[in-house]
């Protein structure tokens, strides 16, 4: 691919990402109505007053959409931070200390072997669907895969000549862990961060669609779930306005995150893409 084309594509992705973030941050200013209030008649078609129309109880869909993107990005950001921190701490601990490894790695293996959606369905229903609970559950159950990566980096690095030299010079285990092993794991963290952003947008939308979204907060997933709760949805002439905008927003969010993770991967470690080795597909 020519360099200009690649740059143009990367630029387009950044513009899209910036637009989504701007919509999320500026939602309170941009939204013409309070998304939770009844702004007009139910099922109003798009008009200058309601640019995307209204939903089954008369809430303005454009305002809901803007706040929905805001919720998605809020969840994604917090989950990514928490989950990255967790997997980093666990991976580092398991790579440095034997007892920690003996306790943590079986847990990692168990969590990785389980199908995640039924686990989310059970835990989120039990604690009650609210935004903080959702963030906590998504973070608590999404760290294992990357904890393994961090641990393997630490183990590889432990055998590196410079670490061995430091050990020969009498460095303590604590010194080795903080001065040499910890910095070595830093360059895999951005990849984990952006992969988890993608995962969290994906998971929040899916769980919200299954009725596990925070009932008090609007997200694109709860908008779709609400539309699909209506048994007569497709008999109403306004159905495209109820279904297409939130679906398009989720699509834009996950695709932007996916493209950004690919661009990041290519920029950070072009040599790590060995032909023949499977790419990481999941977060």
């Amino acid at each position: 691919m020519s360099e200009a084309l690649r740059l143009a594509r990367e630029g387009a992705v950044w513009v899209l990402a910036a637009a989504l973030v701007a919509a999320a941050i500026g939602a309170p200013l941009l939204a013409p109505y309070d998304p939770g209030l009844l702004a007009g008649p139910p099922f109003a078609p798009p008009s200058p007053t309601y640019l995307l129309g209204t939903n089954d109880v008369g809430q303005d869909l454009l305002s809901q959409l803007l706040y929905g993107v805001r919720t998605s990005l809020l969840v994604a950001g917090s989950v990514a931070l928490l989950s990255t921190l967790l997997s980093w701490a666990v991976g580092l601990a398991a790579g440095v200390s034997r007892p920690a490894e003996a306790v943590l790695m079986p847990l990692v293996e168990l969590l990785l072997a389980l199908p995640s959606l039924p686990l989310y369905m059970l835990t989120v229903t039990l604690v009650g669907p609210s935004l903080p609970h959702l963030v906590l559950m998504l973070a608590l159950l999404s760290w294992p895969a990357f904890a393994r990566v961090v641990r393997s980096v630490v183990i590889t690095e432990r055998a590196a000549p410079y670490v061995e030299a430091a050990r020969a010079l009498g460095a303590t285990r604590r010194h080795l862990a903080w001065q040499h092993l910890l910095p070595a794991t830093l360059d895999v963290l951005p990849t984990k961060l952006i992969l988890t952003v993608r995962f969290a947008i994906f998971a929040e939308a899916t769980l919200a669609f299954l009725g596990l979204g925070d009932p008090a907060t609007i997200s694109c997933g709860t908008m779709l779930s609400r539309a699909f709760d209506d048994p007569l949805l497709f008999n109403r002439p306004v159905w495209p306005w109820l279904v297409l905008p939130p679906a398009a927003a989720i699509m834009a969010l996950v695709l932007t995150a996916a493209w950004m993770s690919r661009a990041l991967e290519a920029r950070l470690a072009p040599s790590r893409r060995v032909p023949g080795r499977p790419r990481p597909v999941d977060a």
Partner: protein, 333 residues
């Protein structure tokens, strides 16, 4: 049985034990009281129970026993195949799940097999000429499809093929109010009816699931494209198609088999969500109804059953892998 196989079985038995223990611990570790539904949202219990009734319920569910006693009661129930009583459906949970299982299993296995087959074929095509136009289009397309949530793909298919074109039904697993006939013709007709209803849900899962298979088959193909035995095959004058199918394809079997096992859990999740879009009466719809009704026993059994199922299938896949890997000791690299 080889030592590797024994080790594998022990590992999976331990994992299964972990799942059973986790299923026991999750409701007990998470905040909330089973007798106080709604407390998590700051709501009052809808039905204030007198103290005697509360004590009675706690005794009935063994909640007054110490944790070890509760675990004993739980394991005893499990050993008898008792998964609890659904509060919403007022029926044994095991029976509810068993009734819905065939739909999900059928959907899941059909979609996964089709996805694996098409993904392998497309990946071989893409990897045969890496960085060519075909490769680029396929990789970009599959990467985008893999990023989308399954329910979005399902909604897209629904909008195009069920609502705009009207080729397929909007929802359900079969046509309602049609009398079941037991003769051969009637059975064939109802099988066709079910297949017609499940085409779109399965297609959504295939579209979402193919991507990973394409990427792995492609990467392995790129790695072995210049392998000595393929050069020999070329020197013999075989056509490119013969070389690809007869000499390259078998090398994809092992990595794809591993990936097949890894994907099971994710595709199961996809099936559960897609069932909600199309109202297929499988485990996913049951789970959705249970979420709305706060029917914890159903969700717990769903978690237990699907986890054990995925573990069992993965164990089978890994045993098969051991058998196949033994037959070809010198793997490419």
């Amino acid at each position: 049985m080889s030592r590797a196989a024994v080790r594998l079985l022990i590992r999976y038995l331990l994992l299964a034990g972990g799942v059973i223990l986790l299923n026991f611990l999750i409701p007990r570790l998470l905040p909330g009281d089973p007798l106080h539904v709604g407390a998590a949202e700051g709501l009052d219990s809808g039905l204030p129970l007198p103290a005697t009734a509360q004590a009675q319920l706690r005794a009935y569910y063994h909640l007054d026993a110490p944790l070890a006693g509760q675990l004993g009661a739980y394991l005893g129930d499990l050993a008898r195949g008792d998964l609890g009583w659904s509060l919403a459906a007022n029926a044994p949970v095991g029976q509810l799940l068993l009734d819905r299982l065939p739909w999900t299993l059928g959907l899941l296995l059909t979609a996964l097999l089709i996805a694996a087959a098409t993904g392998t074929a497309l990946g071989l095509l893409a990897g045969w000429a890496p960085a060519g136009p075909r490769d680029r289009v396929l990789v970009a397309l599959t990467a985008a499809l893999a990023a989308l949530p399954e329910f979005l793909i399902a909604i897209g298919l629904l909008l195009v093929f069920a609502i705009t074109l009207r080729w397929f039904p909007l929802l359900g697993g079969r046509t309602l109010f049609v009398e079941d006939r037991t003769d051969l013709l009637g059975r064939g007709r109802s099988a066709l009816d079910i297949a017609w209803h499940l085409t779109l849900p399965a297609a959504a899962l295939v579209l979402a699931g193919t991507a990973g298979f394409v990427l792995i088959a492609r990467d392995v193909t790129v790695g072995i494209r210049q392998a000595p035995w393929l050069i020999v095959a070329r020197a013999k004058g075989l056509s490119e198609r013969q070389i690809a199918v007869r000499h390259a394809l078998p090398n994809l079997a092992l990595p794809l088999l591993t990936y097949f096992g890894l994907r099971l859990g994710a595709v199961l999740g996809g099936a559960l969500v897609v069932e909600r879009v199309f109202h297929v009466p499988g485990l996913g719809l049951l789970g959705y109804e249970a979420i709305r009704a706060r029917d914890y026993p159903v969700l717990q059994a769903l978690f237990l059953l699907s986890s054990l199922g995925v573990l069992l299938a993965n164990c089978g896949v890994e045993l098969l892998y051991l058998r196949l890997a033994r037959r070809q000791p010198a793997l490419h690299e």
